[in-house]
């Protein structure tokens, strides 16, 4: 059994129980995609590119009343300790689905019937909670592409390690800890778009963890806002 929290309530990387890893988010990093974002969340490094709305191919997949949202979450072969085969694994297919479902309530898909919106998430380096980092970056990339959205989606994972509720689970805490609880949240609408749980929590523990997750999502949301502001206002002067 690995000890993940020391006597001073500090975690393996020196963080406090409710402290997030440093997050750096940039939008508009790719010229060829319609929208893009790059996030560094601790040791996670994730690049997201968004195309769309665009013509839907194959045509038979187009929906008559709304846009088709496609999402591919892919981990680079060099993103983990041991080389990861580049073909989509079971886990990547699942994460593509949950990222798509976490973002689709935010996007006004009805505005572009018969079209497709494509999200490509490329994990360059992985270090736990990459799904919430991907959702955070993808939602910023969608906004960067000018796709109409009801709100930004911010994500954060919380969990239980050594019997304690902690925020922002890292890779080792995910593997050795007891519970991983990723949450994606739209702060202005106060709606949760993703809630998964890997492990068991009591009702009290869950309530505490969930409250912590929402609080941290709001913090991540501020980072998204600032990244968009910086991305669009980077040329010298302020708005009138």
């Amino acid at each position: 059994m690995v000890k993940l929290i020391d006597k001073k309530n500090l975690r393996v990387d020196g963080r406090k129980l409710d402290e997030l890893r440093p997050i750096k988010l940039q939008v508009g990093v790719l010229k060829n995609a319609d929208g893009s974002a790059y996030i560094e969340w601790g040791r996670n490094k994730i690049m997201v590119g968004v195309y769309g709305p665009k013509e839907c191919h194959p045509k038979h997949m187009a929906l008559p009343d709304r846009a088709l949202l496609k999402c591919r979450y892919h981990m680079a072969p060099f993103s983990v300790d041991e080389r990861k085969p580049p073909q989509p694994s079971r886990r990547e297919i699942e994460l593509s689905k949950i990222i798509r479902e976490a973002l689709s309530p935010a996007i006004v898909l009805e505005e572009f019937p018969r079209t497709a919106i494509e999200i490509y998430v490329e994990v360059l380096q992985s270090d736990g909670s990459s799904r919430v980092a991907s959702i955070t970056a993808a939602s910023a990339a969608l906004a960067d592409a000018g796709i109409p959205m009801r709100d930004l989606v911010a994500g954060c994972a919380v969990g239980k390690v050594d019997g304690k509720i902690i925020a922002d689970i890292s890779d080792i805490e995910d593997k050795e800890g007891e519970v991983d609880l990723p949450v994606a949240y739209m702060p202005n609408l106060d709606l949760v778009t993703l809630l998964q749980s890997d492990g068991a929590l009591t009702k009290q523990e869950f309530e505490k963890a969930f409250k912590l997750a929402l609080e941290k999502c709001r913090f991540v949301y501020d980072i998204q806002r600032n990244a968009l502001l910086e991305g669009f206002m980077k040329t010298k002067k302020e708005v009138e």
């Binding site: 006004v108 906004a143 202005n188 040329t235 009138e240």
Partner: protein
């Protein structure tokens, strides 16, 4: 009328609490108006506007667009208008109602690769847009440089009553044909075209910033080696 309040908004930002119909790029929930896009919101009393800073071209009837013919069949040309739907230019629009595919080969009029200036005749989101080239100056563009800018920045490139585009045209001696879909064709003396393109790129890069007209004016005067006052923004004929 009060002062216009302008601020940067991201999707989901509250713009105003008011019982009004949501203007474009916003939505209403309860008694409040929220932004749908990254942009600049302008609030003047109950008048609300969100100017988006990014986004694709959404066709609108009567817009002038510049497109590239990508394909043709017996009855229509298919034109890429830089949007999420291809546009159709029906052969009957060019050859009249009595057009029949046995008589005329469509590629004699427009061929694949041709750049055309056209007007959007019909469009709703359940059908692909239809174009028309009947109208003055519409049809094939035979020469010039093609520049693509973000469609949301076209209004800034045109400027109030065309002030920005006319200023660039007059200073460089070129002519700009601007499509609402963000495609611009620059024609004129070959040595001046790069300068005109640079100015267009500058407008695109700084479209959301204050004092853009002066910036472009100073840029052009510096490059041409003349006083900024000789490059006056066009103010309309009556002034």
């Amino acid at each position: 009328m009060g002062k216009i309040q302008r601020k940067f908004v991201v999707p989901g930002d509250l713009i105003i609490r008011a019982d009004i119909r949501p203007p474009p790029n916003t939505y209403r929930m309860g008694d409040a108006i929220y932004s749908l896009k990254v942009g600049l919101s302008e609030v003047e009393g109950k008048n609300v506007r969100v100017i988006p800073l990014a986004g694709k071209y959404v066709p609108r009837v009567d817009d002038l667009v510049i497109g590239v013919v990508i394909d043709l069949n017996a009855f229509a040309w298919i034109v890429d208008i830089n949007s999420f739907f291809p546009a159709y230019l029906p052969a009957s629009d060019v050859f009249g109602k009595r057009y029949s595919p046995e008589m005329i080969d469509l590629s004699r009029k427009f061929d694949v690769g041709d750049v055309i200036l056209a007007r959007i005749a019909t469009f709703d989101r359940s059908k692909d847009p239809m174009l028309t080239v009947s109208g003055p100056k519409l049809g094939r563009l035979n020469s010039g440089h093609l520049v693509k800018i973000s469609p949301v920045k076209v209004p800034r490139l045109i400027g109030r009553k065309g002030s920005m585009s006319k200023m660039i045209e007059q200073a460089t001696g070129t002519r700009l044909i601007i499509g609402q879909n963000g495609v611009v064709v620059v024609t004129g003396p070959p040595d001046k075209i790069p300068l005109a393109i640079k100015s267009i790129e500058m407008v695109e890069r700084e479209a959301h910033l204050a004092g853009l007209t002066e910036d472009v004016q100073n840029f052009l005067s510096r490059k041409l080696g003349v006083k900024p006052s000789t490059i006056a923004p066009y103010r309309g004929d009556h002034e």
